[in-house]
Amino acid sequence: MRTCEEAQPHLSAYLDGDLPEEARAEVRAHLRQCADCSGVLADLERIAVAARELSPIPPPGHIWLEVAGQVRLSSQSAPPAQKRPARSPVWQWTALAAALVLVTMAWYFVQGSLEAPAPEGTAVMQAGQTVPADGPLDAVNANIDAATAYTERALAELEGAADPEMADALRTNLQTIGAIDRAIEESRAAMAADPESEPARDSLFEALRRKISVLQATATLINQMRQGDQEGAARAAEGLGKKS
C-alpha cells in the first residue's frame, strides 16, 4: 500500500484487528511513513473511545465502525486538501462530527424503548446508512432536528398525563436549546470567517455536543418518569456529564 487512497479504506479494520496479517503489515508500514494516515487512525481511535463512553446505552461495537467508515468515505469524495499537517483540522472536524453522529445514534437506540415513534418527516440515521455526501455535519443536524421534534412530542405526552409540574421544569430546560442554537450559529459564522480558527471549531462542537446531550438526557428522563423509575432518571442525569 503505497498511497493513502489504498491504505485508508483498511484503517477501521486495522484498528479492530480484523485485517489479515499480511494486509496489517502493509498498513503498518504505510502508517510509519504517512503522518496524514496516522492522524486519521488516531481520530478513528478517538471515535472508538467516544463510542465506548456513550451513555446511557452504548451502541453495538460495529456501529461506530460503520459510521466512521461512512464518514471517512464521504470525506474522501471531497476535493483533496492542500498539504496539511498530521491531524489536520479537516480530519479533526470529520472525526468529531462522526462522534456527534454516534451520540445521536445512541440516542435513537435509547429512544427505541419509548412508545411513541419518531416524528414523521424527520430523518433518522440507521446503522449502516450512508452519511449524506454534503457532509457529516448535515447528518448531525438532521438527527438533532429529529431528536428535537421527538423530545417535544414526548414532553407534550408527559404534560398531558403524568406530572405537569415536572413537565414545566423540563420545558424550561429545553429553552436552553435556544441559547445553544445561538451558540451554534455564532460559532458557524466565526468558522466561516476563519476556517482555521481552532477556538471557533471548539466552540461549535462544544455547542453541538451540548445540544445532543440535553436532548438525549431530557428524552431519557421523560421516559423514566413515565415509568416512575428514579434509577433510570439518575442514569439520564449521568448522561449530562459525558463528553462525546
Partner: protein
C-alpha cells in the same frame, strides 16, 4: 436481611399522621380526623415535618383541568438501620427532599415524611395508603425507596427523608423532584435529582452531584478523588474544595469557585459567567469555557503556568502583576508563560471577556 414496607413490620420506632387543610400541616384536629391510622400509630408527630417541595408554575394543578389539590395529610415514621460505621445507604424518592447529616450514633436513623395532597381528604388518604416506602437491608447495604403504585392517581405524595448517619456512611440519593442536602458525611456521596437543588457541605468524597434543573452548592470538600457537578439550568458554587479532579458543567448558569485546589479542573457553561479563584498545582491542567459570558480567573500561589486564552469576538485581559513572558497577544487571544510554566490554563469564551489576575 430485611425487606419490608414502612409502618407495617420491623423496627419502626414511631409513626404519626397529621392532617391539614389548605397546606397547613400538623394540627391535632386533623389527626383526629383519621382515627383508624392514628390508633395504629398511637402518636402525633412532635417533630415538624420538612417543608413541602416548592411548587412551580401551575403547582397543584392537574392536567385534567380540575380543582387544585388543597387537602393534605402528613404521616411520619422513623427507621433505625444498623448499617455499621461505613455502610452504603441508598435513598430513592419521586417527589420529596433528602437531607443527610452525620451523627454520633452507630446506626442510621431515617425520619420518613409522607405528605399526601388531594382534592378531598379521601383522595389524600388514598395517597398515604398507596404510596409506601420499602426498606431492603442486607448487612452493610440498605436501600430505602418510595414506591408509587399509580402515577395517574387522584393524589400527589411527597416522600422526604431526614437522615442522621455515621460520618463514614456512603450515601446515594436519587430524587426525581426535590432537593438533596448532605452535610458532614465523609464516605462517598452521590446526589442526583431531576428537578431540585443540591447542597453538599463538609463532605469527604463526591463521585457526583447531578441535577437537570437546580443549583449546586459545594462547600468545604476535601477529597483525593474527583468532584463532579453537572446541571442543565442552574448555577454551581464551590467554596473551599480540595480535590484531584474538579469537573463542573452547566448549560444556563454561572459557575463560581473560591479557594479551589485541584490537579485538573474542567469548568464549562454555556451562557453563564465563570469565576475561578484557586491555587494552581505544578503539572495541573485547568480548562474554563463558556459561550456568551465572561471568565474571571484569579490565580493564587506561585505555581507557574502556560496560558492560552481566547475570546472569539470578545477580549482577553491579563494582570501585569502576572509578569507574562513570551506573550503573543491580540485583543481576543493571549498566549504566554508565567513563571516556570509547569501548569496549563486554557480559557475560551465566544463573546465575553477573559480576565486573568494574580490573587
Amino acid at each position: 436481611m430485611r425487606v419490608r414496607i414502612s409502618g407495617v413490620v420491623g423496627r419502626t420506632m414511631m409513626a404519626a399522621i397529621a392532617v391539614s387543610t389548605g397546606g397547613i400541616a400538623g394540627s391535632a384536629a386533623g389527626a383526629a380526623a383519621l382515627p383508624t391510622r392514628a390508633a395504629e400509630t398511637g402518636a402525633v408527630s412532635q417533630t415538624p415535618p420538612p417543608p413541602p417541595v416548592p411548587q412551580r408554575r401551575g403547582g397543584g394543578r392537574r392536567s385534567d383541568g380540575g380543582p387544585p389539590f388543597t387537602r393534605e395529610l402528613v404521616a411520619t415514621a422513623v427507621e433505625v438501620i444498623p448499617l455499621g460505621p461505613a455502610g452504603l445507604l441508598e435513598l430513592k424518592t419521586g417527589t420529596g427532599h433528602v437531607s443527610v447529616v452525620a451523627g454520633s450514633g452507630r446506626d442510621v436513623r431515617v425520619e420518613i415524611t409522607r405528605r399526601s395532597r388531594g382534592r378531598t381528604d379521601a383522595d389524600a388518604q388514598l395517597g398515604l395508603d398507596q404510596v409506601k416506602t420499602t426498606l431492603d437491608h442486607h448487612g452493610e447495604r440498605a436501600v430505602l425507596a418510595a414506591v408509587y403504585p399509580d402515577r395517574r392517581a387522584p393524589y400527589r405524595v411527597e416522600v422526604s427523608y431526614n437522615v442522621t448517619a455515621p460520618a463514614n456512611t456512603r450515601v446515594i440519593a436519587n430524587v426525581l423532584n426535590g432537593g438533596v442536602t448532605i452535610r458532614q458525611i465523609k464516605g462517598d456521596v452521590t446526589a442526583t435529582t431531576s428537578v431540585g437543588s443540591i447542597t453538599l457541605e463538609r463532605v469527604g468524597q463526591i463521585p457526583a452531584a447531578r441535577t437537570f434543573s437546580g443549583d449546586i452548592v459545594l462547600r468545604d470538600v476535601e477529597t483525593t478523588g474527583t468532584v463532579l457537578a453537572t446541571s442543565v439550568s442552574g448555577s454551581v458554587t464551590a467554596d473551599r474544595v480540595n480535590a484531584r479532579r474538579f469537573e463542573v458543567e452547566t448549560m444556563s448558569g454561572a459557575v463560581t469557585t473560591r479557594e479551589v485546589t485541584c490537579l485538573n479542573a474542567q469548568v464549562r457553561t454555556l451562557n453563564g459567567a465563570i469565576t475561578y479563584v484557586g491555587r494552581l498545582v505544578s503539572g495541573g491542567r485547568y480548562h474554563l469555557q463558556t459561550h456568551e459570558a465572561s471568565i474571571a480567573i484569579g490565580v493564587a500561589g506561585s505555581t507557574g503556568f502556560e496560558l492560552q486564552a481566547d475570546a472569539i469576538t470578545g477580549e482577553v485581559r491579563t494582570d501585569p502583576a502576572l509578569n507574562l513572558k513570551g506573550a503573543s497577544s491580540t485583543r481576543e487571544r493571549v498566549r504566554g508563560t508565567v513563571g516556570d510554566g509547569t501548569a496549563r490554563v486554557t480559557a475560551l469564551t465566544f463573546s465575553g471577556t477573559v480576565t486573568i489576575e494574580k490573587k
